[in-house]
Amino acid sequence: VPDNDAFRTLTPISLAILLALLEEERHGYALMKEVEARSEGRLRPGTGTLYAAVQRMMEEGLVAQSAREPGPAEDARRRYYGITAAGRSAAESEVARLARLVEWAEPRLAGDPGASR
């Protein structure tokens, strides 16, 4: 992981897109639904938000368009997107950051005075 990326904070929508692509390549609407499900309905990107983010993340090398073609029963205009190695590591570092945050915050929120800094 390059040094400068250590400081980058992904926007909620970017992280959600990366996480939605961890298991499989997805097309636009599947991506929108997965983001919504994963965020428990808190993020409901429309096509504008989603594709503006996808475009930005492609330029940053976090996601890439897949070579997978839509099947014969599918809408021919569909495109599939996958996560890149850089995307995976950006997601990893963001999740690790969140994990440390959770680790720090949970005992405090639970009111445990003995928790160390």
Partner: protein, 893 residues
């Protein structure tokens, strides 16, 4: 097309706001994703779910597009974005609430903007609505474009269009070659019929129409039946059709079919009620009765019918004209004695109905549209100048980290709130104005029943004003977004020369001044013309004269003797009432439209047949000239001794004397009625009176001769004319009582002050003058607000500079002059643009003006002077403020 396809199409249109690189690389994929979502929504929740999806998408795409273009930050407030909560719906609501609060903090500004919006939308919508109803809406008849008015023309009256003689109408109708499906006829003017109701005798507006008229129009009765062809014969039973409003107001909407009405002392059976708002051929009719003409007695030289024809499908207006001309030529050949010198003329019915109102309506619409344009410019001006003062606020917020998109979005919400409020105010104003104008409109305005508030016009006016407000309101935010925030901060702190930065504002002020000048000149011309009109001497003294009209019915006054006796008693007893100086009667009271004329032949100078002069005949009784104040210039007045048994004598007006006997004394000269070869008695001129207006102040005085009533006994209805010693209006009650005493069943068909008749005759020009003048005053006010706003802004921004100058020794007078000079440059530019526009626009008024040329230099100069003075005054306030600056304070700020 399925719902999903429609939604896809709309969505495709929406996505054009996304940045190009997103569209280029993902266009098809975006469409596919939306199609997936839309199909999904439809299976889950049908059309409504698709609609919701589309709305969410619209907001999402707009937000994404804005964010991508603005870069950095987002539309959502920072905390919302980081918490990922609520979505943009909540943000929109919050921004709207913020917007309302922002306006409430500046109530003065918001009020001005609201009024400007409201005036623009209200006036334009109202005028367009009225014009649409009067000029453009299809007439409420079957295939109205095929309705044509057929008139005869008279060579002896310079080819003027006149009504049609019954036998000619009957011949036209039975002529299969005319290209008309059918023709119908009605008597030339609405009659005031006396109807005895439970509450007593009442005068109602009645039309006498041929039975087939309703079929020809394609209109049926609302209750019962309309008149039919079979009602028209003199032997068929007398029937009447009544108006919806009469049915409602006098019969309580109860069953009226079969009821018998006594109309002018004849029993008529009610057979039907016409639908509400049906009133052909005149407005506000109550009764329709059949013509019941006996063809045997009908006279081919008495032209009294208006004829309406329905063109056969496929026959053009031009072809029908040619065919009717041929038909008329055959009638002239067949009946040369009656028809020589006659012609035929056709008019499209709609054209004939509205042609008088057209120019005035279009001028009013034009004036209102200019006002809308001005309101748009004014609003843009307001928004820009307010934006300029808010640049610092924007810059500060931007520097503190507010995303540019966020700023733009918030300003947008703020302006949208104002636009919606102003729009609603405008709609209210328009509705109110339409009903007010329809109520105030002169009786001459045609098709008043067809005026309804027009949604298309309303939407256009709303869109225009809102667009100008919202667009120009966004300018300051975009300026900040363009990255001159740092500069704005610096300038805001110091305020250096404002010159070039406000060019947009200057252009708008110049435009407003120019538009205001156009309306001021137009309003000025109409006012000038109206002043000329009211200063016309009618030729009689209307002050203190009361008039009332009665028509003794033939049933109780069967012969000339009884009619003569009635009017002799009426005039005599009216003259003896307390408070009456003198009483008289006339058949053709000025400004009532009553008129009869006939051909005459002057002794010693016969003219070829069909080219005789036509002179008006006015039967009078009592001391008519003294009573209405028409001075006798030569000879003697009419006397009671000029009766049926004595020689025929008349008094002519000066115009007649000059036309018939130029350069000679008319008194003692003789003429006879009809053509030179007709064997009729000679008539002697015994006196000459001054000219009196007969039809209207702007009209030419007609050739007229006054007869003593006993020598012109065909006049069965008369106006009683009474000059009061004191207040004429107080004579109304005693005169009414007098008529009731003489004949309890006789209705007064028309009553009022003679002065009011003159006022009523100029109601139409007064109405349009008032409207255009109102528009002009509003335009002036708006342009002054605009000028004041810009000058105030200029001074506020140059405070620092002015402070420096004053500290360096500039005198207050010099500062004042400097600011005024800036304002004067704007005003001058407004005049340079506005003057040619005003001169050009005034040409549209040419047919509406009386005694004033459209290019009248005095009027245009006065309009310009008013604008210059008012605009300079608007500049004076900020200029004075500048000259009173305390240099120390100005520099410290």
């Amino acid at each position: 097309m399925s719902v999903v396809r429609v939604a896809e199409r709309l969505h495709g249109w929406l996505t054009t706001v996304l940045p190009r690189r997103v569209r280029e690389s993902h266009g098809a994929a975006i469409a596919a994703a939306f199609a997936d979502a839309a199909r999904d929504a439809r299976t889950r929740g049908g059309v409504r779910a698709v609609a919701w999806l589309l709305m969410r998408e619209a907001l999402d795409v707009a937000r994404a597009g804005l964010e991508a273009r603005m870069g950095g930050g987002g539309v959502m407030p920072e905390r919302d974005r980081n918490e990922g909560r609520g979505g943009y719906g909540a943000v929109v609501v919050e921004d709207v609430v913020q917007g309302v609060r922002a306006w409430l903090r500046r109530p003065g500004f918001a009020a001005i903007a609201l009024v400007v919006l409201g005036l623009g939308i209200g006036s334009t919508t109202a005028m367009w609505t009225i014009a649409d109803g009067v000029l453009f809406r299809p007439l409420p008849y079957e295939d109205p474009e095929r309705l044509v008015v057929i008139s005869q023309t008279l060579e002896s009256m310079g080819g003027a269009k006149v009504t049609v003689a019954y036998p000619n109408y009957a011949d036209f109708r039975s002529d299969a070659t005319t290209g008309f499906e059918d023709m119908a006829a009605y008597a030339g003017a609405p009659a005031m019929a006396t109807v005895v109701l439970e509450s007593g005798p009442e005068a109602l507006r009645m039309a006498r129409v041929s039975g087939n008229l309703f079929d020809l129009l394609g209109r049926e009765a609302a209750v019962g039946r309309a008149l039919a062809e079979t009602d028209d014969s003199p032997s068929s039973p007398r029937v009447v059709v009544i108006s919806h409003s009469l049915w409602q107001t006098r019969f309580g909407g109860e069953a009226v079919r079969g009821r018998v009405l006594r109309i002018d002392d004849q029993a008529y059976e009610v057979v039907g009620v016409m639908p509400a708002r049906f009133s052909f051929p005149w407005q506000e009719l109550d009764l329709w009765v059949p013509l019941r003409i006996d063809p045997v007695q009908a006279d081919r030289d008495t032209r009294w019918l208006r004829v309406l024809g329905r063109l056969r499908a496929g026959v053009t207006f031009e072809e029908a004209t040619r065919r009717m001309e041929a038909s008329m030529a055959r009638l002239i050949a067949a009946y040369p004695a009656d028809n020589r010198g006659n012609g035929i003329a056709l008019d499209r019915y709609h054209e004939r109905l509205v042609s008088d109102a057209r120019v005035a309506m279009l001028v009013l619409v034009g004036a209102a549209s200019v006002l809308l344009l001005l309101a748009c410019a004014n609003l843009a001006n307001l928004m820009l100048s307010r934006g300029a003062t808010r640049r610092r606020e924007m810059a500060v917020r931007s520097a503190l980290g507010a995303g540019r998109a966020r700023l733009v979005f918030q300003l947008f919400a703020e302006n949208a709130v104002l636009a919606v409020a102003g729009g609603m105010f405008g709609v209210l104003l328009a509705r109110w104005a339409v009903s007010l104008l329809v109520a105030l409109a002169p009786a001459a305005l045609p098709r008043r029943a067809d005026i309804v508030l027009d949604m298309r016009v309303l939407l256009f006016a709303l869109a225009a004003t809102m667009a100008s407000g919202v667009l120009f309101g966004l300018v300051p935010a975009f300026r900040v977004a363009r990255g001159d925030a740092a500069e704005a901060l610096r300038e805001g702190a110091r305020g250096t020369g404002a010159g070039g930065r406000h060019r947009g504002l200057h252009v708008l002020v110049v435009a407003q001044l120019a538009l205001a000048l156009v309306l001021l000149s137009g309003g000025g011309l109409l006012l000038h013309s109206f002043a000329r009109l009211v200063s016309v001497d009618p030729g009689f003294d209307a002050r203190g004269v009361y008039t009332l009209h009665v028509a003794p019915p033939p049933s109780r006054y069967p012969d000339d003797v009884s009619v003569q006796a009635f009017f002799a008693r009426l005039v005599e007893e009216a003259g003896e009432l307390p408070g009456v100086r003198s009483a008289a009667a006339t058949w053709a009271l000025p400004f009532t439209g009553m008129w009869a004329s006939g051909r005459i032949t002057v002794e010693g100078s016969p003219r070829p047949p069909g080219r005789e002069l036509t002179v008006g005949t006015i039967p009078v009784r009592g001391d008519y000239f003294a009573t209405v104040g028409i001075p006798l210039r030569a000879g003697r007045a009419l006397a009671v001794t000029d009766d049926a048994s004595s020689a025929l004598v008349v008094i002519v007006n000066r115009t007649t004397a000059n036309a018939l006997w130029p350069g000679q004394d008319a008194v003692g000269k003789r003429f006879k009625r009809g053509a030179a070869d007709e064997d009729l008695p000679w008539i002697t001129v015994i006196g000459v009176v001054d000219d009196a207006q007969q039809f209207g102040l702007a009209d030419e005085v007609p050739l007229a001769m006054y007869w003593n009533h006993p020598q012109r006994t065909w006049a069965r209805d008369m106006y009683l004319v009474v000059r009061a010693a004191g207040d004429a209006a107080s004579l109304a009650a005693p005169l009414r009582a007098l008529v009731r005493r003489l004949d309890p069943d006789l209705a007064i068909t028309d009553a009022g002050l003679l002065e009011d008749r003159i006022h009523a005759s100029i109601a139409t020009p007064r109405f349009r003058t008032l409207l255009v003048a109102t528009f002009a005053v509003l335009a002036l006010l708006l342009s002054l607000i605009g000028t004041y706003g810009v000058m105030a802004l200029l001074v506020a921004e140059r405070q620092h500079e002015i402070g420096v100058r004053m500290a360096l020794g500039a005198r207050r007078g010099r500062v004042l002059r400097g600011v005024l000079a800036d304002g004067a440059r704007l005003i001058l530019a407004g005049l340079v643009v506005g003057m040619p526009a005003a001169l050009l626009a005034s040409r549209a008024l040419v047919t509406l003006l009386f005694g004033v040329e459209p290019r009248d230099p005095v009027t245009h100069a006065v309009a310009a002077a008013v604008l210059i003075i008012a605009a300079l005054l608007a500049c004076l306030v900020p200029a004075l403020r500048a000259s009173r600056l305390d240099p120390i304070l100005a520099l410290r700020d």
